[in-house]
Symmetry: C2
Subunit: 229 residues, 2 copies
DNA sequence: GAGTGGTCTAGACCACTGG
DNA sequence: CAGTGGTCTAGACCACTCC
């Protein structure tokens, strides 16, 4: 029965009866329609959610997931351009930007001595209003002096290029499904323990110097990774 | 309370009280320990599972997830070598191998006319006995005549090289979290609707010809993707 | 055959959202 | 303030695994 409910809801999504535009009917309504308990119904909804077909905004309702963004982590392209090319709209929001002393693993990623102080920029990025990516950029301040005085809602790629004449070279990334870190919960409108896709990227410039590293946390249902070499 | 149970179990995993060696105590025992209902307990277990910390084998019990395999989809390396380098053991099992007429999307991936007949090899791969990867290889028979007469538990890379003098060149892959396809359910010992990581790879040879494509379905908790260029 | 996880019922209270 | 999802209780039966 659990599987049947899942298939029925999936069919309604594919038929366009349920759309990303408005929430699904309330759980109590769906219970009645399928003649099951809320527990059972929620189990089915949860399975669809873990497949990325629907998602819930806490205490607001269940929604059909919009199409995934096609994302190539090897291309350090402009976020907004990439989104626009796929017919979507995007926003960037700076949550915090400051210099701080960071933990050893980040120093190591950046190739700096332990206990180094670096720029940290925390941003939230949305696609079609929906928050999909929480990212922390850790940036070598020796390479980008006074970086924080720029408008950080802009593309870092642009700032690097325009103000410092630096552009991206080699990239290395690690991708792993994890539980959402606490600092990202409210921004991404998820709940503690939600699975997200963590992508840690170490970026180099044209001279092969490590210039920054990004800790990205994506909604697991928001992207499709696409890589070609 | 849900979160607390999750944290307590996670702590027990980190302390090595619960290990991959044997199942966790039964749900009914854990219920009593944490003074909650089975529904609540299972909710907590489910969250840990979706984070890849534990997993269940249907009707057998809950287990601590072994460490993830570090996997670089751009390297068409030997599966067994890669596993061995990470201190693990591996097995390959051929589920089926035959020539058949395939659907258009696969023809398109292979750059063949619609309705083409190709070799299809379905295999299951295990790490330390645990099934982690179900893969369907679709192979251009014009390039590898009589391929199916080889021992297909071996590395295809080796067979290609030794018998046809062909080795891998460029690779393109798409990665997306999806529900497990029905043909892979029993092999991977998962249940319908389980989330898995689908990696579709299109492989070329040294002369940039498309030679085969792989449809891989990984347990979502079994790998960590690592790419460097 | 005992024990396990998988599924399901029929309720209940709470915290929060949105008009 | 009405309605929503989030959480929780206290049971039950079934299909399967393993001894």
């Amino acid at each position: 029965m659990l599987a049947q409910i899942g298939q029925k809801i999936m069919a309604l999504v594919q038929q366009g009866v349920f759309t990303p535009a408005k929430p699904l009917p309330s759980e109590r309504v769906l219970c009645e329609q399928f003649s099951v308990t809320r527990i059972t119904l929620r189990e089915a909804l949860g399975q669809l959610a873990s497949q990325g077909i629907i998602y819930s905004e806490p205490r607001r309702g269940w929604f059909v997931s919009p199409p995934r963004l096609v994302y190539n982590p090897l291309k350090r392209s402009h976020f907004h351009t990439m989104i626009k090319e796929q017919g979507r709209t995007s926003q960037t929001e700076v949550i915090e930007a400051r210099q701080l002393t960071v933990i050893n693993s980040i120093c190591k990623s950046l190739g700096l001595p332990v206990g180094s102080s670096v720029y940290c920029v925390r941003r939230l990025r949305r696609i079609d209003e929906r928050p999909v990516l929480y990212v922390e950029h850790y940036i070598n301040p020796a390479i980008f002096p006074a970086l924080l005085q720029n408008d950080l809602t802009q593309s870092l790629t642009d700032i690097y290029h325009a103000n410092y004449n630096i552009h991206y070279g080699r990239v290395r990334f690690t991708m792993i499904p994890v539980a959402i870190p606490t600092q990202a919960i409210s921004a991404l409108k998820l709940s503690a323990g939600s699975p997200v896709l963590s992508i840690i990227r170490v970026n180099r410039d044209q001279n092969n110097r490590i210039i920054d590293c990004d800790y990205e946390y994506w909604r697991h249902d928001a992207i499709q990774i696409d890589v070609e070499i």
